[in-house]
Structure formats: structure tokens, C-alpha cells
């Protein structure tokens, strides 16, 4: 009790102190001051395991842009340095709201990048709207967030629900023997449920027979019954839509009870899961927005950035969305040629931007609706991109031998 209250008091005091010592930023839109982005990162709190390396990466991003001279502003006839102000939102939406408010009024940043997570995507954008500051959010995926008519908000989640498994199903349609049946297993969570909700219908329309659709809560530890259902129904594809921690016992017990399938697909696969279940993950397929070695616009830049920030994309798969938000904002400012917020807003509106994952295209709601993912497979303990063939770093092994 005391501990929590103490921490709270300490946090408040620290916030108050920083607001006293940070100088106010100069006039918005000048040609002399740096271009300033403001962002919050969940460096502590419940999302911190997903994001704890991003603060350092964000600092490196600004450094790398500035090593190339900065952000090119035609209106000024020169490049201006990029400055990014970073706060820790502690994974708490209300903290994020007050920090963005503070960046608008005290730090007087030019533009917002971030935050992440749908829980923040609801309350934070109205702050941008109020101060008329364009904002490109990163890992904010829930579609309702984008249907509120907000005019200063964009988001580039990777991948988006309707495009998540497009390439995976494309790959499966080209395999022999062709898989005919599929079984969906879903963690009880809005994002994972949205994924299954979309793809179970889509799979049926693609000609698969959906043998089962099972929901499980994060608390569940004994999956014996579910695994036995898999053994009885014998699906060709087991499609798991779960974040990486809750599915750990599922994968382990599937192995322990010798589950068989032609392919086991874990739609949100990451290195964290791999660390926990080790060999049990062999042959499992997953999806990733981008991986070093995949060529595209800014791919050299991004490879260098994640190398400098020591981010393993397989362990931190949500990183690409973050980097894309930064890249899009830089491109939008360069396209506008000025730090004028209204001109940048016009550049963002229904814009198409470059990213190592390919073209990112915003619809009229500010949603990067075409973001997809590459299909990977764990082979000999390493993630290998197996689809699409143009960029694959290895060949898809099918049917997966370790699940026979």
C-alpha cells in the first residue's frame, strides 16, 4: 500500500520538477529551430516488455536523420535538424494523455509520433485534435479508434487485421497436398478475437472447412482437453491467434500430447515465445512485419537503426510500426516543405509513404489499411522468412516434419 502511494507521490513530484526546468520551445514553424517531434513510450509498466528498447532506438533515429543533414525543408531552402522529445507513459493511458497535453503546451513540439496500444489510441488523439497537431500513432490497431472523425490522427499498425494472414493463406493455397481443414484457437483479447473473427470467415470462403473455433482465457494452464479435441478432429492447419505468453502452455502441451498437423500457425509469433518454449516451436509458422534482409525503401536505414539500438526484430516484432510512424512523419514534413502543421496535415491526408515493408497507404480515416506481414517459419531454432518467394530467406518446409 504504502509502497504504491510512495511511488505515486515520487512520480508526481518528478513530473512537477521536470516541468520547472524544461525551457519552453521557440516559435512553431520557423526556419531556425529544429523540427521537433514529441512522443511517449511504454518504457515501464505492463507493456514495457514489448517496448523497453525503443527510447534508445528513438534517440538513434534522430541521430541518424541528423547525420544525413536533417529534415529537408524546401520552404526554408535547407535541412533542419530533427529533435524528438520522449516521455515514459508508464503503460498508463491517463499518464500518456497528460504527457501529450504537456508536450503541446509546455514543450511546444511541432508534431506527435506514437503512442502505441489501442488502450491509448482512444484517449490520446483528442489531445492532438484540440491543439491541431498532426499525430502519427504506431501500434494502434482497433478499427473503432479511426472511425471517430478525428482529423489530426493517423495510425500505422503492422499488420492490420484484414491483412495479417493474407500472405500466409496465399502460401498455403500453393502447397501440395493442399490443406483442407483448419482449427482456430483464440486468446480472449480484442485484437486476437478480431483476427480470428475475420480470418475464420475468410478461411471458409477460401474453401477451408473450419473444424473448430475455441476461445481460451489467459488464466488457463491445463490445455489437455483442447489438445484432445485437436487430436480427435485432426485439422490440417492449427491457427493460433494469441499473444506469446498465454499460448506457452498450449504449445507445450500440444507437443507433450503429440499433436499432429500439416502446419501449426501462430499468428503473433515472436522471439519471446521462442525463448520460453524453445525446441517446441520448431516448424511453427508465424508472421512478422519486417525482418533484416528484406529489401525495400529505407531498408538499409532501418537495418542500421535496429543494429545500433540492439533491437532483434523477432523479439520485438512491434518495432517496425514504431519506426514507420517516424519515417512517415519525416516524409510528410519534407513533402509539405515546411513545419506548418496544416500543410503537414494535408500531406498526410490519404497519403502514401515509403517504408521497408513496402508502401504504406492511409485511407480517409487515417488508417494504414494495407499493412501486411511476411510469413516466417522457425527452422533449426531460427526464424526464416518463407513467403512471399521474392523476398524469402528460406524455403517453406511442408508438411511440417516436427508435427507428424
Amino acid at each position: 500500500m504504502k509502497y504504491t502511494i510512495g511511488l505515486f507521490a515520487l512520480g508526481t513530484a518528478a513530473l512537477a520538477a521536470t516541468s520547472l526546468i524544461t525551457p519552453a520551445h521557440a516559435t512553431v514553424g520557423s526556419c531556425t529551430e529544429p523540427v521537433t517531434f514529441g512522443t511517449t513510450i511504454s518504457s515501464t509498466g505492463r507493456y514495457s516488455t514489448l517496448a523497453d528498447k525503443w527510447r534508445n532506438m528513438t534517440i538513434e533515429f534522430a541521430k541518424m536523420i541528423n547525420e544525413n543533414g536533417g529534415v529537408n525543408l524546401k520552404g526554408c531552402g535547407k535541412k533542419l535538424p530533427l529533435k524528438i522529445i520522449i516521455y515514459d507513459d508508464q503503460s498508463v493511458p491517463s499518464t500518456a494523455v497528460s504527457l501529450f497535453e504537456r508536450m503541446a503546451t509546455v514543450d511546444k513540439v511541432d508534431f506527435f509520433v506514437g503512442p502505441d496500444w489501442s488502450a491509448m489510441g482512444f484517449p490520446v488523439p483528442p489531445v492532438a485534435e484540440k491543439h491541431k497537431i498532426p499525430m502519427v500513432m504506431a501500434n494502434v490497431a482497433a478499427p473503432p479508434i479511426f472511425k471517430r472523425g478525428l482529423k489530426y490522427m493517423w495510425g500505422t499498425p503492422m499488420p492490420t487485421v484484414p491483412n495479417w494472414s493474407t500472405r500466409y493463406f496465399d502460401m498455403m493455397s500453393k502447397q501440395t497436398p493442399r490443406p483442407k481443414t483448419i482449427y482456430f484457437i483464440t486468446q480472449d483479447n480484442p485484437v486476437t478475437k478480431a483476427l480470428t473473427g475475420f480470418w475464420s470467415k475468410k478461411a471458409a470462403s477460401l474453401g477451408y472447412k473450419v473444424l473448430g473455433n475455441e476461445l481460451f482465457s489467459v488464466e488457463l494452464k491445463d490445455f489437455t482437453s483442447l489438445v484432445l479435441k485437436l487430436r480427435i478432429r485432426k485439422p490440417d492447419i492449427i491457427y493460433i491467434s494469441s499473444f506469446d505468453s498465454p499460448s506457452v502452455p498450449l504449445i507445450q502441451q500440444m507437443r507433450r500430447l503429440k499433436t499432429k498437423a500439416k502446419d501449426v500457425h501462430h499468428a503473433l509469433l515472436s522471439g519471446k515465445l521462442h525463448k520460453q518454449v524453445g525446441n517446441d516451436l520448431e516448424g511453427v509458422t508465424g508472421e512478422i512485419p519486417w525482418y533484416p534482409g528484406v529489401k525495400g525503401p529505407y531498408s538499409d536505414f532501418t537495418e542500421e537503426l535496429v543494429k545500433r539500438a540492439n533491437v532483434d526484430m523477432f523479439e520485438y516484432p512491434w518495432t517496425m510500426s514504431r519506426i514507420s510512424a517516424y519515417l512517415i512523419m519525416v516524409q510528410a514534413v519534407e513533402r509539405a516543405g515546411t513545419v506548418d502543421r496544416e500543410k503537414v496535415r494535408a500531406a498526410l491526408f490519404k497519403g502514401t509513404f515509403d517504408s521497408p515493408t513496402g508502401q504504406i497507404e492511409f485511407n480517409e480515416n487515417g488508417y494504414a489499411h494495407k499493412n501486411g506481414a511476411f510469413t516466417l517459419q522457425v527452422q533449426n531454432g531460427k526464424p526464416v522468412i518463407v513467403w512471399p518467394p521474392e523476398i524469402a530467406t528460406g524455403k517453406f518446409v511442408y508438411p511440417s516434419p516436427s508435427w507428424q
Binding site: 500500500m1 504504502k2 509502497y3 504504491t4 505492463r46 514495457s48 516488455t49 480472449d188 475455441e214 476461445l215 481460451f216 482465457s217 488464466e219 488457463l220 494452464k221 491445463d222 490445455f223 489437455t224 482437453s225 483442447l226 484432445l228 479435441k229 480427435i232 505468453s245 506457452v248 502452455p249 507445450q252 507433450r256 500430447l257 503429440k258 519471446k272 520460453q276 518454449v277 524453445g278
Partner: protein, 292 residues
């Protein structure tokens, strides 16, 4: 329905239920002796499991050795926890004692989870030790499961006789049944309280290692275990180990069969449903129940 499937589900349910029961043992002894609902009890399993996993990752020790290390450590924690934080409350009025003990144990739950997450990270972890699987027809039993099942059975029997025959076991039962009566016999109530906390926490250390060999643990999973253990005590009776084991296995089986015949998403909630149904249908409890 194929018998092998029923057997396989039953096996999983018995294992999980047996582990629930081990958590319930300590909770039940502690409540009986000190009349404190120790909300932090399940969290000790979570934290002990995280520690066991961390030790295993670092040293690859035999889980029995890890157990031998964790039992005294958690036991000492339980002793000090009672002696320093809860015992002082006994000098207060009954109301302040009740409310104070809830605040202290809930506070301990929060702090233990946070500290464990801070030291070892919030992500789930386990003891990734895999023994050969044995197959009996279509039923698959991993050697790990067989060992753990054997461990739970042996442990329950030993514990049962220890509580029945040893001086400390008798003292715990005596304090549970009549606190003043025990004092008159020369039992130092405060000491028995603290030792019961130590004893219950030590049992949790054993359960923690066994649990972590089967299922992942994370620092924040403890409270749902505490709730399950409360359910077991209500079904099985305070201070009644055999009742707790039966109730625990009953709960584990109920979760397994709910998941199989109905839907997986309902399995974790079944304990609450069962509790309500049973309280309504059998307000006096079951035959094996010897509540006090």
C-alpha cells in the same frame, strides 16, 4: 466417447487439482490457526515458481534440490511475515485485526508480485525439463507428470500423518479447534501461528516447483490460485487435508471436463460456478467436510 480421452482429461485434471490442493493445504492451516485469510498465499506460489525457474535457468539443478533450497527460504519468509507484520495486529480490537490482516496480506500480494516482476521480469517462465513420454494405448503420460502425481500423493500422505502424529501437527489442530484450550495446555499460540505461516509457505514452495515443471508461472498469477484454494477449503472443510485433496481434484476434473464438453473459455470460471451451486444445493457441505 473413447475411454482413453476421458482418462487423458482426468489425468490432467487430477494433476492440476492436486497442485491446487497443495496451495489450499497451507491456506487452510493458516486460516484455521490464525483466522487470517492470507490473500498473498497463491502469490507465494507464483513468486516461488518464478524463483525456481530462474534458479533452474541459471544452474540446471535437479528440481528436488531447488525445492530443498526454496522450502526453508519461503518458510522463513512466512515466519517473519507473520511475526513482524501480522502478530502486532493481534493486540488490536477484533475489527482492526480482521481489516488490518486483509490489508497486510493484500498489500503483500501486490508488493511481492511487483518485486518479483522487477527482479525476474513479468513474462511467464517455466522449468523446461522434459522427460520421455510413456504411451498406454492412446493415453500419453510424460514421466514428469507421473513423478509429480506420485509426489503429490506421497506428500499428502506424509503431511497427513505429520499433522496427525507430530507435536506441532497436534498443536496446530488444537489451536484451530479451541484457541484458549490450547493455551491452557501450554501451547504458545503466537509461536504456533508464526510456525504455521512458515509451514504453509514451505508447502507452497514444494507446490511451486512441481507447478512450474508442468505449467508456466508469472509474478501476477497468484490471486486466481488463492481464489481456487478458497473454493477448495469451502468444499473440503477447514483444516481437513483429505477433504482438500478430494475437493482440489474435483475442481481440476471439473475444469478439464468443462473445457472438453463445453467450451475452453469457461474452464477457469468453473470454480466460482461450482462454489455457488454447491453452496446452494449442499448448504451443510459434504459428508467428508468437518468444518469448525
Amino acid at each position: 466417447m473413447d475411454a482413453s480421452i476421458i482418462i487423458q482429461i482426468a489425468l490432467g485434471g487430477i494433476l492440476l487439482g492436486g497442485l491446487y490442493a497443495m496451495v489450499a493445504f497451507g491456506l487452510s492451516l493458516i486460516y484455521g490457526v490464525a483466522r487470517i485469510l492470507n490473500f498473498a498465499h497463491g502469490t507465494l506460489l507464483a513468486v516461488g515458481g518464478v524463483a525456481a525457474s530462474a534458479i533452474f535457468t541459471a544452474t540446471a539443478w535437479n528440481p528436488l534440490l531447488i525445492m530443498a533450497l526454496l522450502v526453508p527460504v519461503l518458510g522463513l519468509f512466512g515466519y517473519v511475515f507473520y511475526d513482524k507484520l501480522l502478530q502486532p495486529l493481534t493486540k488490536r480490537s477484533h475489527f482492526e485485526y480482521t481489516v488490518g490482516s486483509v490489508l497486510v496480506t493484500v498489500g503483500a500480494l501486490l508488493i511481492l508480485s511487483d518485486v518479483a516482476a522487477w527482479i525476474a521480469g513479468p513474462a511467464p517462465r517455466n522449468i523446461p525439463l522434459r522427460f520421455e513420454a510413456m504411451e498406454f494405448g492412446d493415453v500419453i503420460v510424460s514421466t514428469t507428470q507421473a513423478w509429480i502425481l506420485g509426489g503429490i500423493i506421497v506428500f499428502t500422505i506424509v503431511l497427513h500423518f505429520y499433522i496427525k502424529k507430530s507435536w506441532f501437527g497436534r498443536a496446530m489442530r488444537a489451536v484451530t479447534q479451541d484457541h484458549t484450550g490450547a493455551t491452557i495446555c501450554g501451547v504458545q499460540a503466537d509461536r504456533v501461528h508464526a510456525l504455521t505461516f512458515a509451514f504453509g509457505s514451505g508447502i507452497v514452495a514444494i507446490a511451486a516447483v512441481l507447478y512450474t515443471m508442468l505449467f508456466p508461472v508469472d509474478p501476477y498469477m497468484g490471486f486466481s490460485l488463492t481464489v481456487k484454494a478458497f473454493t477448495i477449503i469451502i468444499l473440503g472443510g477447514i483444516g481437513n487435508l483429505v477433504g482438500a485433496l478430494i475437493a482440489g481434484i474435483f475442481l481440476g476434473l471439473a475444469e478439464g471436463f468443462t473445457s472438453f464438453f463445453w467450451a475452453t473459455q469457461w474452464a477457469p470460471a468453473i470454480s466460482i460456478v461450482l462454489l455457488l451451486v454447491i453452496l446452494v444445493i449442499f448448504p451443510q457441505g459434504f459428508g467428508w467436510r468437518k468444518s469448525k
